[in-house]
């Protein structure tokens, strides 16, 4: 464990960022109290929220180990999400030590509580509609072709609007020729049946994924110090 007393902190941090042997891996902020997954996962708490962390060796973040680490990241967050609201961090977020992680939890407190409140009772769903490879009919003029593409695009937007009506928040992830729609929706539990029924009414092949923890709707503006 890196000592937390002053003035060793600055030195230990400098040393840690050059050649860290241990880092504090941050999975997610949650409400506190809540059930914490098995050790080495643990909770750093502040008032009624917690940052769920584990000590890791940053050196293990090398290519062959990466997929199991991704699974672990997701597994911990899903386990917590079964019991409480979560504000998941991006994969491989690591603090130099507990003090730094706790400081962020304190600094981000108001923002985090607001976010957890807003996310409570919601789950994320993904909807992807692949666009069949459009084969323009023979003899289609350039103008007609552009009009066709415009209709396809507005079709995706209309679809999105229909689905977004059942969601608290929504984001189009990408808009490419390949996808008529690739979007994520933060749907209240009470509205999931209607949302999924709406998604089922979409013509053609639709991929629906979820429910997910609110990965795509989690952000914090607070900077760590």
């Amino acid at each position: 464990m890196i000592p937390s007393s002053h003035p060793a902190v600055a030195n230990s941090r400098a040393r840690a960022s050059q050649n860290p042997e241990t880092a504090v891996y941050a999975y997610t902020i949650t409400r506190w109290p809540t059930a914490v997954p098995a050790a080495p996962v643990r909770a750093l708490t502040y008032r009624n929220i917690a940052l769920v962390v584990a000590d890791v060796d940053p050196a293990e973040f090398t290519d062959p180990a990466m997929l199991p680490l991704v699974r672990r990241h997701h597994g911990v967050i899903v386990e917590l999400f079964e019991g409480t609201s979560v504000l998941p961090f991006r994969f491989a977020t690591m603090f130099t030590d507990d003090d730094a992680a706790r400081q962020l939890l304190r600094d981000a407190y108001d923002e985090a509580v607001t976010a957890l409140d807003a996310l409570a009772g919601h789950r994320e769903w993904g909807v992807r509609v692949r666009r069949p490879k459009a084969v323009p009919p023979d003899g289609l003029s350039g103008t007609d072709y552009l009009a066709l593409r415009r209709r396809e695009r507005s079709g995706g937007e209309q679809l999105h609007e229909r689905l977004a009506r059942h969601a608290g928040r929504s984001t189009i992830r990408r808009s490419t020729a390949e996808f008529g729609l690739d979007a994520v929706y933060l749907v209240p539990l009470s509205g999931e049946d209607e949302f999924l029924a709406e998604a089922d009414r979409i013509d053609g092949p639709v991929e629906i994924t979820g429910p997910w923890p609110p990965y795509s709707f989690s952000e914090l503006r607070t900077t760590a110090r």
């Binding site: 973040f61 990466m66 991704v70 699974r71 994969f91 603090f95 730094a100 400081q103 900077t223």
Partner: protein
């Protein structure tokens, strides 16, 4: 977890979630490279399928 599921998970945990900035974060150049590798993996798996 199937390969498809893993791709979906990757697609979220690498591209979404809270991003924290600050010098108390451990940012190994290697991790960023690995993130890029994972993105490349995603891109490779997430190519249009014939349906």
């Amino acid at each position: 977890m199937t390969a498809d599921d893993l791709v979906e998970v990757l697609d979220r945990v690498i591209t979404a979630g809270v991003v924290v900035h600050g010098d108390v974060l451990i940012s190994l150049a290697g991790v960023d490279l690995i993130r890029l590798d994972l993105r490349a993996l995603l891109a490779a798996v997430d190519t249009p399928e014939v349906r």
